[in-house]
């Protein structure tokens, strides 16, 4: 069954962790939660594919975890606070994950944040329907900002 569409699905580069994704991603999130224990981290690192079998993931979810495709994990029901535990198990900082998800380098991402972050102009809406709340009219999308945020699948 195709995913039911919601108003927030119009936000670019964003996978809202809603009830449907939560249902779908229960296994991914429980797997990530298991990594809070050192013995589980060791077992996972020793044989990743074997360890994942305990969590009833779909083949797509398993592939996303093994490939560390963080955006795909979110799309298939993973939640960022959970998947961040996988990143930590790999020894990565959160900013590393953010850089991976945004298709940037960690240095480039850190620089963007120091410069005031990703602008909302041009990043509000996929369809152009999302308008700023108070300004009255939607800002023109800035090509540069948009290319940064565009999802590979969105």
């Amino acid at each position: 069954m195709a995913r039911e569409q919601h108003d927030y699905d119009d936000i670019p580069g964003t996978f809202v962790f809603d009830q449907e994704r939560s249902r779908q991603g229960f296994g991914i999130n429980m797997f990530c939660m298991s990594l809070m224990k050192d013995e589980n981290r060791k077992a996972f690192k020793a044989n990743e594919a074997e360890y994942l079998k305990k969590f009833n993931l779909t083949p797509e979810q398993t592939e996303a975890v093994l490939k560390r495709d963080y955006n795909r994990m979110l799309e298939l029901g993973g939640n960022i606070y959970f998947t961040a535990k996988l990143g930590a198990t790999d020894g990565h900082s959160f900013q590393h994950l953010a850089a991976v998800m945004t298709g940037s380098t960690q240095e480039g991402y850190a620089k963007m944040m120091l410069g005031g972050g990703r602008p909302v102009e041009g990043n509000r809406s996929k369809t152009g329907k999302g308008k700023p709340a108070k300004a009255g009219k939607a800002a023109k999308p800035r090509a540069k900002a948009r290319s940064k945020s565009r999802s590979k699948r969105g």
Binding site: D7, Y8, I11, P12, G13, T14, F15, V16, F17, D18, Q19, S22, G25, F26, N29, M30, C32, M33, L35, M36, N71, L74, N79, I80, Y81, F82, K85, A88, F94, Q95, A98, M101, T102, G103, Y109, M112, M113, L114, G116, G117, R118, P119, V120, N123, R124, S125, G130, P132, A133, K134, K148, S149, R150, S151, K152, G154
Partner: protein, 312 residues
């Protein structure tokens, strides 16, 4: 009688906690963040609340996806810091106020807020980082704490209106508690940030500043803001700001903004912080009688400034 004297909001960025724990607060990047809370610590030391009700969210620490309570009130005697994967933060155990918490639960559930009562819970950076920002790093926290965990991780979180009304119910509960306690309510999280997906790193200072303005002066404007607007304008995780409305609902309609601080960034997040005080009844108007509604109307017809002064 217990009463709510003030409300405080603060971001709860985990990296702020890491900077404290790893003694990096003097680095220029972090000094910019911490310096904004110096006055707040002074204010807190002077205000000396007996109890803080801290509205925060858990980040896959106490609650996994196995159970997701929308509102969970911490009624235990103490709440140890959670191990978030790097060992528990080296902060004091949070001491609860089980009697007041039980009284609040009893009162707000009968006021139709179906709280989850939690008698055993660990608290993560969502609660402990704002404690550090407001109280520094003492050996013991100087006041009792009642944690109120709000689900903002699994969509949909409670609406802003619901949060505001819960704040009102909490205020009513506190005011009917017989012991003389001074209570501060803290709303944590925010401000604009997105940490997930290709749009991660989003910051919207214009939205944040308008939110702070409205929180202070016109919170009813914020009550009806739909979730999609938070997420679109302030980032997917910026929706945490609904928790600030619990704090605001617990205060008087008119409050004094005594301090505000805003900076970008701390890690992936815009940091926002505000202190709002309930006006002390009769203090400023001592010796002056409050004009009646009829007098106010007549005064308003003469000059708008009169009505503003009259209300203070």
């Amino acid at each position: 009688m217990a009463r709510i004297i003030a409300g405080v909001t603060s971001s709860h960025v985990p990296a702020i906690g890491a900077a404290i724990d790893n003694h990096r607060t003097e680095e220029p990047y972090w000094k910019r963040v911490f310096s904004g809370f110096e006055k707040s610590k002074e204010w807190m030391a002077k205000t000396k609340p007996d109890v803080c009700i801290v509205v925060y969210n858990d980040h896959a620490s106490a609650f996994s996806v196995e159970m997701v309570p929308t509102f969970a009130l911490g009624c235990a005697a103490e709440f140890p810091p959670a191990d978030e994967g790097w060992g528990p933060r080296p902060v004091p155990v949070v001491k609860g106020h089980p009697q007041l918490a039980a009284h609040i639960a009893q009162s707000v559930i009968l006021d139709e807020f179906d709280l989850t009562v939690v008698n055993k819970m660990e608290v993560d950076h969502g609660l402990t980082v704002p404690m550090n920002l407001l109280f520094g790093s003492p050996n013991e926290w100087p006041c009792r704490v009642i944690p109120l965990a709000v689900n903002v991780v699994l969509y949909p979180p409670p609406t802003g209106h619901r949060c505001f009304m819960l704040g009102k119910a909490i205020r009513k509960a506190v005011q009917s508690y017989p012991e003389d306690l001074r209570v501060v309510v803290m709303g944590t999280g925010g401000m604009s940030h997105q940490i997930s997906g290709p749009r991660a790193g989003l910051i919207n200072s214009k939205f944040d500043k308008a939110f702070l303005d409205n929180l202070s002066k016109d919170p009813k404007k914020l009550m009806r803001m739909p979730h999609v607007e938070y997420m679109r304008e302030a980032g997917a995780e910026g929706i945490e700001m609904v928790m600030w409305l619990v704090m605001r609902g617990a205060l008087d309609d008119k409050v004094d903004e005594v301090y505000r601080f805003y900076t970008v960034p701390a890690s992936n997040t815009a940091v926002g912080h505000i202190i709002l005080e309930n006006r002390v009844r009769g203090a400023k108007a001592a010796g002056k009688r409050r004009p009646t509604a009829g007098k106010l109307k007549r005064a308003a017809a003469r000059a708008k400034t009169t009505i503003i002064r009259g209300q203070r």
